[in-house]
């Protein structure tokens, strides 16, 4: 059971991004999905009979997505006769209802649990209609397995297999995600093509949400299996970048505020669950339900949007300045002379109070993060990461990794370092590879490490050295490492990783010819792999043009921050562009590795 029945109300009170400042109409994506879900729940397409009572069962990975994307908030309510919402797991919840509705990804490994759940429920509860909605698309394989392997329609009296087309979820004004947590492992480890298809479909959706869907376009999509993208004029370009071009960045520790929250506590669909109390101070609103104290992280929070993209080292002083400002504004009440002043003061008061509250929240979070970042261990780790990037002092790095293993540090954090070394050097030297493998096996379990190496190898994250690495050339051409850095007042995207610039961000910069340097083409040419370009020649004068950056396989929060930085930089140079990041999922090194490892490394 994921959240108990009496907790169901939590689902309806979320703080998703308001999307009031979206440059392309992302809100329409949410609205469409919401409308479809409402229709589904109101019974238009679910049940025609009199008894519309239903129990909803959701795959665990989708629970947060549903909960925090704002798509299900209206639909999963009592008026729609929703009797209960549960998580799909081996323990069946027998709340009686006439309809049993499943939502899950078309992942074959889930089908066994699904079948067991549905049959057990129906045996105990009695005549029930079962509805299975695959998100975002049903696949033939899933359907085939349910029909021929589990013989679902023979075992149950009424089964409907359908799909709920929710692919892109807007997380913020400029970030949309498919929230496919395991997209990296699906694409790189399992070689599953389905996500690519969903991505292609989602791109079509993006075009439709951007402007009114032109009948010609729809016709084209319906009539042709292969179509050429025609971007609407407001969109100057869409860059589709594969995570495979830059495996290194997610492995590094993100050093922006939002990135560090992700690294230390994890962010799920724009929300994070702090393991400490954030609400400090007397006038802070207490959390209504202590069990659901997840904090939304998006542009609605004006304090957060000021600091999310900043290097963490500068966050403290920004918070301090802001608190001084709030304090000064409060102080102004003493200067109130007449009615006009009072009115002015009262007008600004709610904003100040809100800021006050937010400063409190973020100061608490930042203090907690600071405890980690100031620790010797953390500082050492960062310096080692930077040594790896500069391919400097290999011996010291290896000693460090060895110590991590001997100290039995968490497996993921050790593997991140090792993968980093492998990616930068195009594989580890055979001797080092074997040595590390053996000490890892002794320390973390032999089968675990064999399986981990198998999978990481297949994804290209950890290999034996075969040929020379192109990384030194790339580092030089794409200026991935900045010697001079001003974290407080950055002039380059390198600030997000305190010196290192994600290759992905450089690609975006270079593709747009935005760096103002001559070597943009060199950068693109140095990157291995296929490249293709579709460009919109039509120019629309006046409005600021939009560039969509679609990252397949996941993007980190810090990378998003660098893209926002690029946006600001261009605006200051008088060449304003809006960037919209679309991705399969917002990721981090740990999330990426976790999805690849075939065991639960948190156990």
């Amino acid at each position: 059971l994921y959240w108990k029945k009496e907790r169901r109300s939590c689902l309806y009170r979320t703080h998703m991004a308001s999307l009031s400042h979206d440059v392309i109409k992302l809100s329409s994506l949410r609205d469409t999905a919401r409308k479809e879900m409402n229709q589904l729940m109101e019974g238009n397409s679910i049940v025609t009979g009199a008894d519309r009572s239903k129990v909803i069962v959701i795959e665990p990975a989708l629970v947060d997505v549903f909960k925090y994307s704002g798509i299900t908030s209206d639909a999963f309510k009592k008026e729609n006769q929703v009797k209960g919402i549960f998580s799909l797991c081996p323990d069946v919840e027998f709340t009686p209802a006439k309809n049993l509705v499943f939502f899950l990804r078309p992942n074959p490994s889930l089908l066994r649990v699904l079948t067991a759940y549905a049959t057990t429920y129906c045996q105990k509860v009695g005549k029930t209609s079962v509805f299975i909605y695959f998100v975002p698309k049903k696949t033939m394989m899933a359907e085939h397995i349910l029909e021929t392997e589990y013989r679902l329609s023979e075992r149950l009296s009424h089964v409907t297999i359908s799909e709920f087309d929710m692919d892109l979820v807007p997380l913020d004004d400029d970030v949309i995600s498919m929230e496919l947590g395991d997209s990296f492992s699906s694409l790189y480890l399992h070689g599953d093509l389905s996500p690519l298809h969903w991505i292609a479909k989602s791109i079509i959706k993006l075009q439709q949400c951007d402007s009114d869907p032109s009948p010609r376009f729809v016709e084209k999509v319906l009539s042709q299996p292969i179509f050429v993208l025609e971007l609407t004029p407001e969109v100057e370009a869409m860059y589709v970048v594969d995570r495979g071009t830059d495996l290194l960045t997610p492995l590094l520790t993100q050093l922006t505020y939002e990135g560090l929250i992700e690294e230390l506590y994890g962010i799920a669909t724009g929300h994070f669950d702090p393991p400490f109390e954030v609400a400090a101070g007397g006038d802070v609103k207490p959390v209504a339900d202590p069990r659901d104290r997840k904090i939304p992280l998006n542009g609605n929070d004006r304090m957060f949007s000021d600091i999310r993209d900043k290097n963490f080292s500068t966050v403290g002083s920004i918070l301090y300045q802001k608190s001084v400002w709030v304090k000064q504004s409060y102080e102004r009440r003493k200067e109130v002379q007449g009615l006009k002043d009072l009115k002015e003061f009262m007008k600004g008061l709610p904003e100040m109070q809100e800021f006050h509250r937010l400063i409190g929240v973020h100061t608490n979070i930042a203090t907690q993060i600071g405890k980690t970042t100031q620790s010797a261990d953390f500082r050492k780790r960062i310096s080692m990461e930077q040594k790896i990037i500069q391919q400097d002092d290999e011996r010291e790095v290896l000693d460090y990794v060895e110590t991590l293993i001997n100290r039995h540090e968490p497996f993921l954090s050790v593997m991140r370092m090792i993968c980093m070394m492998s990616v930068v050097n195009n594989g580890l030297k055979p001797k080092v590879f074997d040595q590390l493998k053996e000490s890892l096996m002794l320390s973390y379990g032999i089968p675990q490490v064999i399986a981990a190496f198998h999978n990481l190898g297949r994804c290209g994250l950890l290999i034996r050295n075969e040929s020379r690495s192109v990384f030194p050339l790339l580092r030089k051409t794409a200026r991935l490492w900045a010697e001079e850095l001003q974290e407080a007042n950055p002039t380059d995207m390198a600030y997000a990783y305190s010196g290192y610039t994600p290759l992905l961000s450089r690609i975006v910069e270079a593709m747009g010819g935005l760096s103002g340097l001559f070597n943009d083409n060199d950068v693109l040419e140095t990157i291995p792999g296929d490249k293709a370009e579709i460009r919109n020649d039509a120019e629309v004068p006046g409005s600021t043009r939009v560039i969509i950056v679609y990252v397949i396989g996941g993007i980190t929060n810090a990378e998003i921050s660098t893209i926002r930085f690029l946006e600001n930089k261009l605006a200051s140079l008088g060449e304003p562009r809006h960037f919209v990041v679309a991705t399969t999922n917002v990721t981090s090194g740990s999330k990426m590795l976790e999805s690849i490892l075939p065991f639960d490394c948190k156990l």
């Binding site: 093509l193 299996p225 032999i446 156990l603």
Partner: protein, 743 residues
């Protein structure tokens, strides 16, 4: 019984002395010499069953003169009827008809009719089986209903030659055929001159309108008569042509024709004719239409041209004439000419073409092309044509080609199909499975690939594995599918044979699954979960399986050695979990196991195992350090670090510092700092121990003023630290409490 490819499809049946036979639709009816008749018809079971009955005496000993059959579908009883007429000895005798009904008890009945004109020589049942036409020896043509209740004599053929064939053209007309050679042989008395005049003739008549006229209502306006070297194409002359060419016709079209002819001869009559025609514009329009229609009727292109020229001549006097039909006709004629060319060989009348126009005509043309053209030629021709038109389905054409055993042509056509899904489905239709797989992979549509995969595993079973695993996309899908379906696991065995490393991997995954499940149980319960022995056994089985597979691997030496170590470990863990009653052993790694042994005061055993399992000295030192810290055996840690001796521990001192600090032993930790040689590292360690004083003092002592400056920078905002730094900087060397300790 053979099928069209010459394969036996049913067991043979013996019919003695067959005399005559005719098809009954799904079998054959036979008249035998012993005065019996039989039917051999295919039952639903696919077997042929014989039904035999005696014929009435009236049939006599001679073979019947004629047999005809009413098929079961069309007969009024629902059974096959055989009609036969006895051979009579004299032309003066009256004939009769015998009807045999082949139901379960076949019965033959003499209908006892008195048919004048001698033996019936030709008999034909109409296609809808309502009427029968027959001709007697003397040339009398009769028509009757199928039950022979109302027989009527129509006319006499007036020739001695018995027609070679009598047959129905549709249900409304009957035709009989005299062949040219029949006349020469049948009437040798006729002179040679006459021979030329009599040719193969076909007489068509309407049995209900005895005027001998040719006004038949057939589905199309033609039928062909095939001889060995000539194909005769018989066509009804349309009214329009009739009006135009009939002698003495006064129809406007006839006048238009004469006007044109006269004009060509530069005769003044044409002017008069034209004037007359233009006075009646409607008549002129009809005349032009007639010309156009007649052109369509003609086969000779010269004649067509002429008629169209007449039409256009007429058109020039008729401003309101809509040229659409004229243009349409020209186009249609071009098509007909094209398909009539020898390499296409479709002689088609305009009427036929109009009835077939559209899909069915194309269908016929395609059938013709597919069946008879050389492959390369046919393929390119079709693809070339299809390219210009969207919405045409290669799938149907390929299916057609496949039915006609032209597989390569079918492949070639499907190659051109732009729609991946129909392409793949069509390739599966024609059983070109490997090509379908290739195309599906090229399309990178997971549903399509799966469709092929499901088809292949369904039809070929394990033998499909090889081709499926030759491509990474289909391979990963196959593995995913097999892992999700228990019924398909057997397919994996096939895959293992060539990929032992995957086999090892799967066994390991199984182990990990058990391990994770057990660990969850362990976390839930207090003490050992009741089933722990079973879990250990299962884990052991998986590991031994993996070990076995690793042996087959090309490069599995290290893997095999460590997997063996793992099974030793499991044994060891089971023992200790029992002896020391600590379930933590059950899912521990090698180093964790050793650490637990130390904690349980079994250091000797741990040392022995470490040696056996080749745990490095460094790793071992760490294990001891962590175990001792957990046991709070602080003096032992000092001993491990070689305190007071000259022996250096295998690991660096900062390990000791960190471990001690994390256990709150700041003071003890500080003692190790001076042993670290690198000043930067020392500084970090001082800070870990929160010893700003020591750090500052160290800087002063070693004269590292730059570092001292950095230290001050770090201490900013922390008043206590600042104060300590200041104190440390100011302190005299001798006052250092530990300065002499490690010197």
């Amino acid at each position: 019984f053979y099928d069209y490819r010459g394969r036996t499809i049913a067991t043979s049946q013996h019919i003695q002395n067959p005399l005559m036979c005719c098809s009954t639709g799904n079998g054959v009816a036979v008249v035998m010499a012993n005065g019996r008749a039989a039917s051999l018809e295919c039952e639903e079971s696919g077997e042929y069953r014989a039904r035999v009955c005696d014929l009435p005496r009236v049939v006599g000993s001679l073979p019947p003169s004629c047999v005809a059959c009413v098929t079961a579908q069309l007969s009024d009883t629902g059974y096959t009827h055989l009609l036969l007429t006895p051979t009579l000895s004299s032309i003066a005798d009256d004939g009769t008809v015998v009807q045999v009904t082949f139901h379960s008890k076949p019965r033959a009945v003499d209908l006892a009719k008195r048919i004048a004109g001698g033996s019936v020589v030709r008999m034909s049942v109409s296609p809808d089986a309502t009427n029968v036409a027959f001709i007697t020896e003397d040339g009398s043509v009769y028509i009757s209903d199928v039950a022979f209740k109302a027989i009527s004599l129509l006319f006499n053929t007036e020739t001695e030659a018995i027609p070679a064939q009598l047959f129905w053209c549709g249900n409304a007309a009957v035709a009989y055929l005299h062949l040219a050679q029949q006349f020469t042989t049948a009437s040798p008395s006729a002179g040679d001159d006459d021979d030329d005049d009599i040719e193969t003739t076909l007489t068509i008549f309407d049995p209900w309108n005895r005027d001998h006229c040719f006004s038949m209502e057939l589905a199309t306006d033609v039928f062909g008569v095939v001889e060995c070297d000539v194909y005769q194409f018989l066509q009804v002359v349309p009214q329009e042509a009739h009006r135009m060419f009939q002698l003495g016709s006064t129809a406007p079209s006839a006048q238009l024709l004469s006007a044109f002819d006269e004009y060509a001869l530069e005769s003044a009559t044409s002017v008069r004719l034209i004037r007359a025609l233009t006075e009646d514009p409607e008549g002129l329009m009809v005349a032009i239409d007639d010309c156009v229609t007649s052109a369509g009727f003609e086969f000779d292109s010269k004649q067509q041209q002429r008629l169209l020229r007449v039409a256009s001549f007429g058109k020039s006097f008729c401003g309101t004439y809509d040229t659409e039909s004229f243009v349409g006709m020209s186009r249609r004629l071009r098509v007909l000419h094209a398909v009539r060319k020898p390499h296409v060989g479709m002689a088609t009348s305009m009427q036929q073409f109009l009835t077939l126009e559209g899909d069915r005509f194309v269908q016929r043309l395609l059938t013709e092309v597919i069946s008879n053209w050389p492959m390369q030629f046919a393929g390119t021709a079709i693809i070339d044509k299809f390219r210009h038109y969207s919405g045409l389905s290669y799938r149907k054409v390929a299916q057609l080609a496949h039915e006609r055993k032209r597989t390569r042509l079918a492949r070639m056509l499907l190659e051109a199909e732009p729609h991946a899904s129909s392409q793949v489905e069509a390739l599966l239709d024609i059983k070109e499975v490997d090509a379908a797989l290739k195309k599906a992979i090229e399309s990178s549509d997971p549903d399509l690939i799966f469709a092929v995969l499901a088809y292949m595993t369904g039809h070929r079973g394990a033998s499909a594995v090889e081709s499926l695993s030759s491509n990474s996309v289909s391979r990963s899908m196959l593995l995913e599918y097999c892992l999700a379906c228990d019924s398909r696991r057997s397919l994996l065995a096939e895959y293992y044979r060539d990929h032992p490393e995957y086999n090892t991997h799967l066994a390991i995954l199984q182990y990990l699954d058990e391990h994770d499940r057990f660990t969850r149980q362990l976390q839930k319960s207090i003490g050992s979960p009741p089933m722990w022995r079973t879990y250990q056994e299962r884990k052991m089985t998986s590991i031994q399986g993996a070990e076995l597979h690793a042996k087959d691997e090309h490069d599995g030496v290290l893997k095999e050695r460590l997997l063996r170590l793992q099974s030793e470990l499991i044994d060891e863990q089971t023992k200790h979990a029992e002896d020391l009653n600590d379930s933590k052993f059950l899912n521990a790694s090698v180093t964790e196991t050793l650490r637990l042994l130390w904690i349980h005061n079994r250091g000797d055993r741990a040392e022995a195992l470490a040696k056996r399992w080749k745990v490095t000295e460094k790793a071992l030192c760490w294990i001891k350090l962590r175990a001792l810290a957990q046991l709070s055996d602080w003096p032992a840690i000092d001993k491990l670090a070689g305190k007071g001796t000259k022996v250096k521990p295998p690991i660096s001192y900062d390990g000791f510092v960190h471990t001690l600090v994390s256990h709150g032993r700041l003071e003890q930790a500080k003692e190790y700092i001076p042993k670290v040689s690198n000043i930067e590292e020392r500084m970090e360690l001082y800070l870990v121990c929160d010893d700003w004083f020591g750090a500052a003092m160290d800087c002063r002592k070693t004269g590292e003023l730059g570092i001292l400056e950095q230290l001050r920078e770090r201490a900013k905002g922390n008043a206590r630290a600042m104060e300590q730094v200041d104190r440390g900087t100011a302190a005299k060397m001798e006052t250092s409490p530990f300065a002499s300790l490690f010197r």
